[in-house]
Amino acid sequence: MLRTAAKLAGKDAGPGRPALCDLRRATSTAYYALFHQILRHGVVAAVPTATEAEISRVARWFTHTGVRQSAGWVVSAASSNAPRKEDREAVQLLRGGPCQGVPPQLLQVAEAFIQLQDARHLADYSNDYDPIRYVTIDHVDTADLAVRATWSMWRAGQSTKQSRLDVHDSYRRFLHLALLKSGGPRAR
């Protein structure tokens, strides 16, 4: 999806004005690349033995709002500001654990998710979408950086270094909170 987003954004394209519909689709595709990566890790974190068919079904338990809420808690947990009362439990969980704080990679993913979700909303529904190619490329590159960070945190679970295992633990806390906030299985 990221390669598609890059192509639509006109990365390394030759001269010529970009098409607005291509830029909008690039932003939207970049967002979905990160969203689906988080979902996949979230499913496997919750159901480690899930088959591909189960991964596909369980992924639908996650919602855009649920992941956003969890990302918002990560940002709040990394902040020196006191969290809102209704966020305290989740923020404490993210600040706790072996890392005793939010790893930089997790904060990067959370910030990128919120930025890209907002951008995707503008891309898909608003006339206020910024039609500048540089801005769209930054969306795509931000998604790429964040996806790499998710993989780094996921693979850290196989490390022999305690510091890397702690980062993986923090990522799993974020993923579990995203699933909880999404509401779990729903009737279809």
């Binding site: 098409a19 830029l23 919120i114 540089y134």
Partner: protein
């Protein structure tokens, strides 16, 4: 006793944030200007948005690690000042980028309606 927060004028908050973020960045990621907006985000929460105006990139794009760091530091300034001025909002704040220096070749024109379509024609269900 209820927690007391300082109440200051929102204009002071915006001016303070803009002045602070204009110290950030360097090269083609230095902040030339900034706009602080109170928006309703797509989840329905009120949130602060900080639009950072940068020079156009030297190449085809800004360095993404530099822009990520810039957006993070800018958002932290926004959140800290919001706390100080007593203007925290429920939604998550975020920083975004733009430039006012983009040449025409980098700006997408509005989409033309496809042949047979008009802006007022209803979409058909298929």
């Amino acid at each position: 006793m209820a927690e007391q927060t300082p109440v200051r004028h929102e204009t002071d908050f915006r001016d303070d944030v803009v002045a602070a973020v204009k110290e950030l960045g360097s090269g083609d990621t230095r902040v030339l200007d900034a706009v602080v907006e109170r928006i309703e985000d797509w989840t329905g929460d009120e949130a602060w948005r900080l639009l950072l105006v940068l020079p156009r990139p030297r190449g085809s794009a800004w360095d993404v690690e530099a822009t990520a760091e810039l957006k993070r530091r800018a958002r932290e300034i926004l959140d800290t000042r919001a706390e100080t001025y007593g203007v925290r909002l429920d939604g998550v704040s975020a920083a975004t980028l733009t430039t006012r220096d983009a040449p025409e070749s980098e700006v997408a024109p509005p989409d033309e309606p496809e042949e047979g379509e008009s802006p007022d024609s209803p979409e058909t269900d298929e």
